[in-house]
Amino acid sequence: MNTLSSSPGRLALRRFLRNRTAVSGLVFLLLATVVSVFGPWVMAIDPNQGSGSPFVSPGASHWMGTDIHGRDLFSRVLVGTRISLLVGAVGAGVSVLIGVSWGLVSGWRGGRTDAWMMRLVDVLYALPTVVWVMLTLTLFETRCVGWLSERWPASIPAFRLAAMMVSLGSVSWLTMARIVRAQVLSLRERPFILAAQSIGVSPVRLMLRHFLPHLAGVVIVYLTLTVPAVVLYESFLSFLGLGVRPPQASLGTLIADGASQLNSVRVRWWLLVFPAGLMTLMLAALNGVGEGLRSAFEPRDGNGDRN
């Protein structure tokens, strides 16, 4: 049994490694993670240290230039990437987890359960996201921060970040649920599912083994759409005073800051181009990895899906 199940995995891995786009994407993502996590520490830079020379254009002393306080943009981008990677991964992760299981159960059970689950999604859809996020985070600030500050004051920023990620994830799963449900409804009547059912495969196994592989595609697409959405939503939260607290930075807030450079009077391009460019690159890499994973695990690879 073990050898049987591990060999498709190994096959898929080999297929994945043969895919050059996917591998380079993976390498880039890993590199970005390692550099942004250990970089600031190894290079001993302080992203919040003003240098006295604001708005220096990129050059040898400041690779990506400086901002209004004279802070080095490169170190801010590094630190910002670290936060945004975390926010994106956890936020999107939470939303995929809830969204996929909700859609799966709803689509699979069908009938009354499906109707109620989907109506609940409709209700949640209509509730204003801002209010929800603001409420949960305000509650966190008023209830939990006081409690934490008596015990572990140093952990407050971490918890604040965690609260934000969970709050973000908890409102962005609705579209995923709808899409997964639609896929499941469509898959449910396909011969291979019916066959599996007729030979008495348990529902859990049916979902894991037969539905999930067919859902991998939509999940990956969804991830590549949600990660940037969550990262950017975080920058919107800073408009509410609920995002990353200044003077810290995230890619989202750096991009939002840089957006003001799009004017016809004076353009300090580096403030927008570097953070936005990095984000696009990371997403392209994520896309590549997603595509690679998907074709590596495709249920019936090479059987006439290419023309």
């Binding site: 209700v123 509730l127 603001m134 469509s186 449910r188 697409v221 959405a229 957006a259 059987n303 006439g304």
Partner: protein, 304 residues
Amino acid sequence: MRPWMARVALIPVLLWVVATLSFFLLRAVPGGPFDRERAPASREVEAALKARYHWDEPLWRQYGRYLGNVMHGDLGPSLKYRNHSVNDLLGQTVPVSLALGGMAFGVAIGLGVPLGVLAALKRGGWADYAAAGLTLVGVCVPVFVLGPLLVLVLGLWLEWFPVALWGSWQNAVLPTLTLGLYFAARVARWMREGMIEVLRSPHVQTARAKGLSETAVILRHVVPVALVPVISYTGPMLADLLTGSFVVENVFQIPGTGAFFINSFFSRDYTMMMGMVLFYSLLLQVLNLFSDLLLRWVDPRVGS
């Protein structure tokens, strides 16, 4: 009773649930509509103001009053815009957002669907890369960057289109593009996904085996089923589009409803916020119902 009729009958109930939840959630947020930087002239003046909006009553009674008024089609006075009722504000701004959203929807579907189809058919080919590039830009470049960028290039430098305001068709071009591209990117992504999923299913091979031309196979047997994810995304997307986008309306100074989603929360204009929530919710449920019906129709397996 047919299932969709039950759905229709359920709409008022769901609206009530949404209204109730939002009503109490909103009131739990700190700050109120009458908090200002400048303190009121006197306690009497403040009390008079609150009495005018029944703010001095217990919350449950305000809730009852609100529901009663909503039943009669009256969404109440705006708490911020003191010379306008919520009905009045919605009446003035909804047509604008419907127009803009409708056109952007056209762009999103008109661009996104063909692009997704091409990308899936030429997987790994140039069309795929072009589509991937577009979606990447559409997804990564936030609307608050894309909008000003289009304004800068097409409005200020090339002077092809007006930079803002609303009135003639020229005014609509840039905002439609901004909003349309954003959603086209998502539609293209889902379309490509649906296509890939369908292309490898057996019934396509059956169709091919019957000797149908490749175009006929694609158009008749692949695209309809491949629309499944797109259609299930359409409900929320159209609801988002038709109720207006805060950023696009702000950047292009368009008098639509989108501004109120964020601003009425910032100013704690509860009645306006509730009006928006109800309007959005109604639209969403109707559109989701349509998109579910449509799903069943393009892919009959869904219904059973």
